[in-house]
């Protein structure tokens, strides 16, 4: 009994924080999202109105595109680099340390760094002008604040690939090479060996880390606030704009968007949990 009380007591601070930080705010957001202009209850009317609007659908499609493309790129780079970092070689410790650098750089700093590099007046543009590849700043392609979202994708990929890479590297270094060596002895080619032996080994960790990266890109505010264009806005920016809109003082639309984002990410957590629990059982 005493032990049970101690167990419950150990979670009390967290429960208290979650209550004032999540439960009450989310509940209050839900209430606000279902109110009309005079504060009356209107049920899901606001949801139907907001979630079918052109601007919302455009923003959702753009957000999904940016988050998915960034995740796919980060994942591919991460796996390739992790495979290269697997063996031991001279200077490996330094290389692994530098490999982790990007994921520790704050998002807004990452955005600024890429802006100084990629914008039309950025360093790459200067270099390409100097070497005669482009004629002046306006001749250089729009890589940041572009309507296709390449600046956002570059920033998310740059910041997040080490995160996936470190998980993959952890698995590769922990795993024995036995199966791969056996397959090699049996004459299985390099590519097939990777496809049938190495890849299945790293898929779980890769997908778990990638889900986190997807969620981080999906909901981020800072990077799109700095590198985003006004042609298509990511959902976080759209939400903020609706919240800060001086005409719509009741912010109803913003609350609907907040609940939508929360629910979407809840679904992502469920997928994440399914994968991690399966992994826990396997090992």
């Amino acid at each position: 009994m005493k032990e049970k009380l101690a167990l419950i007591a150990s979670f009390l601070p967290i429960i208290a924080l979650m209550a004032i930080g999540y439960v009450v705010p989310i509940f209050s957001n839900i209430v606000k999202s279902m109110q009309g202009a005079e504060g009356q209850f209107v049920g899901i009317d606001n949801y139907i109105q907001v979630l079918t609007s052109y601007y919302f659908l455009d923003s959702l499609a753009f957000t999904l595109k940016v988050a998915l493309v960034s995740t796919a790129l980060a994942m591919t780079i991460a796996v390739v680099v992790a495979l290269a970092l697997r063996e031991t070689f001279m200077g490996k410790k330094l290389v692994v340390l530098l490999f982790q650098l990007n994921m520790t750089i704050p998002r807004m700093a990452a955005a600024m760094i890429l802006m100084l590099l990629l914008s039309q007046t950025g360093w790459l543009s200067q270099l390409s002008h100097f070497f005669g590849l482009t004629e002046g700043a306006s001749d250089f392609p729009w890589l940041v604040r572009d309507s296709a979202g390449w600046g956002l994708i570059a920033a998310f990929t740059w910041k997040f690939f080490p995160y996936i890479g470190m998980s993959v590297l952890g698995i590769l270094q922990g795993a024995s090479r036995e199966y791969e060596d056996q397959a090699a002895v049996l004459g299985v080619g390099k590519f097939r060996r990777f496809w049938h032996v190495t890849l299945p080994m790293i898929i779980p960790a890769t997908s778990i880390a990638s889900i986190i990266v997807f969620a981080s890109a999906f909901g981020d505010y800072e990077i799109p606030a700095i590198l985003g264009s006004s042609d298509h806005r990511m959902l976080s920016i759209y939400t903020y704009m609706k919240y800060a809109d001086p005409i719509m003082r009741d912010h109803t639309e913003a609350y609907v968007l907040m609940i939508f984002m929360s629910l979407t990410l809840m679904a992502v957590i469920l997928a994440y949990r399914k994968l991690t629990i399966a992994e826990e059982k396997r090992s």
Partner: protein, 270 residues
Amino acid sequence: MSRRTRTIIIALMLAAVLVPLIPLVLWSFTDIWPFDQPLPSFSLRSWEATLRNSQVIEALINSLVLCVVVVSLSLAMSFFAAKNLGTRRFKGRRLIQFLLLVPSFIPQIALVFGMQRVFSQIGLYNNYAGVVVALLVFYVPYMTLLLSAVFEGYDMDYERQAKSLGVSSWNILWHVTLPAVRSGVIVSCIFNFIGVWAAYLVVSAVAHPTFRTMSLLAFPMISSASNGYAATACVIFLYILPILLILIFFSKLLVTDTDRPDTNQTGGML
């Protein structure tokens, strides 16, 4: 993978990590950089101005103090919960693990305005305590998950033996438990520190308008570009520097240690 392919991949990776930092460094050491020159002329003017700027110094100190306060409190608030999650199997464990993931996944933009409303009703708005509590809301669950992964590999038998020998619980904690999980705890604190250091939306939602952290100082500089690139580059440099120092100082733990918590746990620091 052949040696040559490996060398090429590693070289490309290092270039991708390091080349983008070059313009940042160059901008901080110049005051004018005409477009048609690939390298600017050297000047320490921006650095002198930045380091003399009392707002910057204030923001640096505020951020450091805030990080130390929040990380210590998170450690204290999550330690025993994490130990229970990692070492015991009890009813409701999975549910708790699920709830702890929420802060790392739900976008801050979807939460902070609701938080702002709730916090203003309980006296945690426009003051320091509010900033600390708001950060704890996000980073205690993250810390708990990181530490519970550390405790997964912890052997409770040592504690039981010490207990049967009549060692007090305080001494067990200090001489048995903590030394066994030391490196995992340090790495978890580093990850938490990085998260708190970079926190922006949540701090701006509850802090007093005059309160300044490095994130609060840097964001308007970057998004409006009104201070010019050289000044902004210096501030960004100072914003990244403490993290770089931590990475270098703890590099041994971060690169090789086997007690390092599984980074898969959550992306709270991202």
